[in-house]
Amino acid sequence: MPSRKAARLTREVIDPAEIVRSVGEAGAGAVALFLGTVRDNSEAGRVLRIEYEAYEPMAEKRLAEAERDVRRRWPATTGVKIMHRLGSLGVGEVSVAVAVSSPHRAEAFEACRHAIETIKHEVPIWKREKLGDGSEVWVEGVSVGAGALGRGAGQRSGATKRNRLPS
């Protein structure tokens, strides 16, 4: 039985159809869905897998805050669902999903975009890439708290630094 929580971590495969269903409302004319997936390459090289870990109780709180933040900023929103996967993911697997339903498309897109940017800046989650050459690198993102919760949605490039692990 899937959890009713609007924002949570999971170790199970994320099912986009189920996420979309969970935000369905009779008054909604729009659903925006964002999926983050594991890419087969990065600046570090060919990527085989990515391992995600979190400070789980804090991450769940921050995801819930991100969901409340969306509802506060876009009160017309009828449904919000946020899920982030943990564990070892292969190329193409869904690592994060955000779905927002609302009466009209403009706020659905904006709210969805805001939520994913907040997640990337504010939630204590880390990832390590397993590369084709056998090495592993931590993906170095942003210092937590430097981001969007309580402030405007920050724009940032997708580029992130990586620290090669000592072998």
Partner: protein, 86 residues
């Protein structure tokens, strides 16, 4: 009057866990130490953590904390390297 030491639990995540060589650790500190005092103690024990010190953030009992926040007995302090969700 003697100063009663407090015990705090430290959690290390991601690169900080690798740098510290452990996922958690208990510290005993005198009085009501600041977050910074605890962090200095930890970094003295684990030199590898120092290279991350400028980008690391700290949480006390699952909330982001400032360097000068005071710790109490039983607090849980997490070392949070830059996050990379998504």
């Amino acid at each position: 009057m003697r100063v009663v030491p407090i015990r705090v639990k430290v959690l290390y995540f991601g690169q900080a866990r690798e740098a510290a060589g452990r996922a958690e650790e208990d510290f005993s500190l005198p009085g009501a130490p600041s977050v910074l005092t605890l962090v200095s103690r930890s970094m003295k024990a684990h030199q590898e953590l120092r290279r991350m010190s400028s980008v690391m953030r700290f949480a006390v009992n699952e909330e982001i904390a400032g360097d000068d926040d005071r710790l109490a007995d039983g607090d849980v302090v997490a070392f949070l390297p830059p996050v990379a969700g998504g």
